[in-house]
Every structure is written in C-alpha cells, then in structure tokens.
Amino acid sequence: MSEPKADDQRPKLEIDKVSKAYGDFLALRECDFSVARNEIVSIVGPSGCGKTTLLWSMSGLHGVSGGEIRLDGVPITKPHRDIGLVFQESNLLPWRNLRGNILFPYEITGETPDHDWIAHLLERVGLKGFEDAMPGALSGGMQQRASIVRALSQHPSVLLMDEPFGALDSFTREDMNRLVEEIWLESKTTIVFITHSIEEAVFLSDRVVVLSGRPGSVAAIHDIDLPRPRTDEVMASRQVFDLMNAIKGGIAGARTKAAE
C-alpha cells in the first residue's frame, strides 16, 4: 500500500542466504530464494527440516543467525504489519468466540476494526452467522477458515501459512485449497505456503521450493506452469503427474544425500 510503485519489479520477499541456529544446532543453512509480488510459493520438505523455522524468520517472530530477509527491500527484524500469519492448526483462542478471535489483532494494535471487510471475509469463507460460536464447537475446517479471516483482517500484503490444513481430512483439505486459490485470485496477496503435501503444493503454487533437512537448505525450486484456476481436469493431467514425481524424486534424493 505505502511502498513506492516504482519497485514493482523487485521481489516482494527476499530470503538472502538465511541461516538460523538454535544454540549449537544449525536449523537452516544459507537458504536463498525470493518470492515475487502476488506469487504463491510453497515450501515442501520432510518434517523437522526447518520449514517452520524459516517461516518464523520471515514473519519476524525470531531473528536469523546469518543472511537477511527483506520485505519490499527492507530487512525484517520484528513482526510486521504487512504480514499475516496462519498457524499450524487454527491457533484460535478457545475462550473467545469467532468474533472475539477475529477482532483480536485489532485489540492488540489498537486500530479501529474494518467491520465491512471482516463481514465480507466471513461471508467469503462461509462463516457468516457463526460469529458468536466458540471455536471448540466448530469443525477443524471451520476453525482454520476463521483463522484465515483473522490473518487477512488487517489487509496484509503477504500471507504466511504454516501447514494450515495438515490436521484436516483430505476432502476438507481440497475445499480449503480451493478457498485459498479463490481468495488469492480475488485479493492478490503474496502467499508463502508450507506443506508436506506435494499435491497441495502443486495445486496452489506458482513455484515450489523443496527444503532438505539437517540443516535445512534449498534442494530444488520447481516452476509450476499450470493454468488457473486449477480444475480437476488440470490436476489430472500428465504434466501434473510428471511435476509431482519430479518433486518427490527431489525430496527423496535430498534425503539420501543428507543420510550419507
């Protein structure tokens, strides 16, 4: 919103040789890629390879040990207003109803809630009429949709999502993927999406970054040149099959290399 228009060619997010250590333990080593404006990039990799660590660095929740992460060219050192986060499992506050959860960001920042926008989002994700429900009374899919509304409520230009649908059944998951695609087509935010599902990554992304573990580093980057919206027909094509195999092969290769 506020950044100069002239910078449209510059990447939205630059992950510049980022390393991260927890004490003596090196979790990430020189991860290097960038995310273009309005792009959806997925990060896939086995459990424990450092995906969450990387996302937390991108969100400014914790610092990096080496390298730099830049948003619109400015280094990220602390949580940023322009970045919305969707957590693993919905991470709703169980003692607040949906309305209370969605207004939580506004309570913290002290801004006046954008009620029209929130109402629009609730309608968009099919939660209109559930404002007074407590999270514990809702299905996992509904909880995660509420957390997406919360993340989008303050108009972030970047949405970081950490295995948001990992705990959902595959049908709900497909619905949620379609919802993310629709929201993205509508709002054109930049999305970084962490998943361990290759199919989910291919369905959603413009590019897929494969992370290999110990320490986490970029093993491969795949371009997903598929038309949007990604219909069942597109997803059933030979091209998708080949892409998924290539990514799978890349992960397997990275693992055997790491095991050596």
Binding site: L61, K78, P79, F87, W95
Partner: protein, 278 residues
Amino acid sequence: MGDITPEFQKKRGGGGVDVTNLSAFAAGGASRTQAEIVAIIATAIIVIGGLELALRLFEVPLYIMPPPSAIAMALIKDFPFIAPHLGHTLVELFAGFAIGASIGLILAAVITQFPFSEKIIAPYILLLVTTPMLALVPLLILRFGFGYTPRIIAVALASGPMVMINAATGFRRVDSAKIALARSYGASTLQIFWKIRAPMALPMILVGLMIGSIFGLLTAVGAEMVGGGFGLGNRLTSYSSMIQMPQFFAVVLILSLLGIAIYVTFFLIGKKWASWDA
C-alpha cells in the same frame, strides 16, 4: 522472550463437534429431566427418613446423634441466635480470603514470569501449603488478642498459598503458538499477560480460589474454636461442652451448606467463564 519454539502444542481431542450438534451441546450438561429430579428428591427422603427412623428405632441417645428432625427444629428455633455468629465467620472468611487470594494471585503472576526465582521460592510455598495454619492461631491470639485480626490472618495464610500454587500452575501453561500469535501483532508483555496468559490460567485460578476459600472456611472455624467468644467455631465448642447436640449439628449443617455454596459458586463461574477448558 525465550519461551518461543516453533513446535506447537497439540490441541486436546474432540475438536470436531458437528455444527448441527450446537444446540444439543448448549442444552446438555446441567439441565435435568423430570425423572432425574424425582429420583433426587426420593433419594433424599429415603436417606434422611431412614436416618430418622433408625435413630429412633435403636433409641440412640440425643447426646450421641440427634435425629434429623431435632436438628431441623434446633436450626429453626436457634437460628436468630446463631445468625450473628454466622455473620462473624463470614466476615473473617471474606476478609481473610480477599487478602490471601489477592496476594496469592499477584505472587503467582509475578513469580511465573521469572522461572529462576520460581525455583528458589517453590520450597517455601510448599511449606506454606502444607503447614496447618491453625497451629499458628494460639500464637496469633497472643500477639493480636481475641478479635477478628488473628482469625483473618489465619484465613489469609491458609487460603493464599492454595490460590497461589494453583494459579501458578495455570500461568505456567504457556502455549507458545498463542503467544507467538499475539507477538505477531506486536503485543507488549503486558498485553500478552492480560490477553493470553491470564485467560489461559483462568480455569486453574478458579480451582485455586475454590480450594483456597474452602480451606479458609475450615481455618476460620478452627481459629474460632481455639479462642474468642464469637463465630460458628465458638458455637461448636460451646454447644458440645453443654451437650446441646441438636444445636451443635445445626451449626455443622450450616457449615456444610456454606461449603456447598462456595463450591457451587465457583462451579457456576467456571461454567460461565472457563467452560472452554472442559
């Protein structure tokens, strides 16, 4: 903050309640069917009536165990005389509990912010919890006389540590993902405390308040039995020394009802404000 880790806590089970169940969900729990109410009343009649019958049948002397009817009569007849004593006990309970619980809550909130100091202080808290504060009452009376003061101090000393130890357990239940959520919007330490840590601790705080107030009641009555001419505890000693057993049991009954009232109060508060933790 050092307590942020990317490993998120697993939620407790049962997240998938269907929306159509929502009304049943809300209606369930406390509401009882007519049959249940009848059964509850019938049981009460059988238990109390049976007790009455047995005590009369076996001609148990009044000074050992008066029948329920005698206790009820004593309660009605002597209540005007007992009531001021009940008032004194309540004053001691409320004053002592208010002081003890406030200090306990504040200490719990502060101490859990500093895990290092917590480790050092923990043994003393345990000592306070396990020491029967009644033992100190004669000492307190020596120092403060026979008025309210020693009793209020005893109640505070008994309830405070109970509140504190439970509240501390609650404050220690940090959910790093929820704190991260708050931090991602730039929340201050104070905001994190009031909007995340405190509500998260609330169910345990309520448990602490309930246990603390019941301990406070016991301590108030015990302190009254040790010395001083007023309060329900004083009634217990004086009635038993005069072998006025119906009156004695009438006071015991009042104390039981007080305990139940405390329990029900906190149960209802918990149901209203902390049922998400159920």
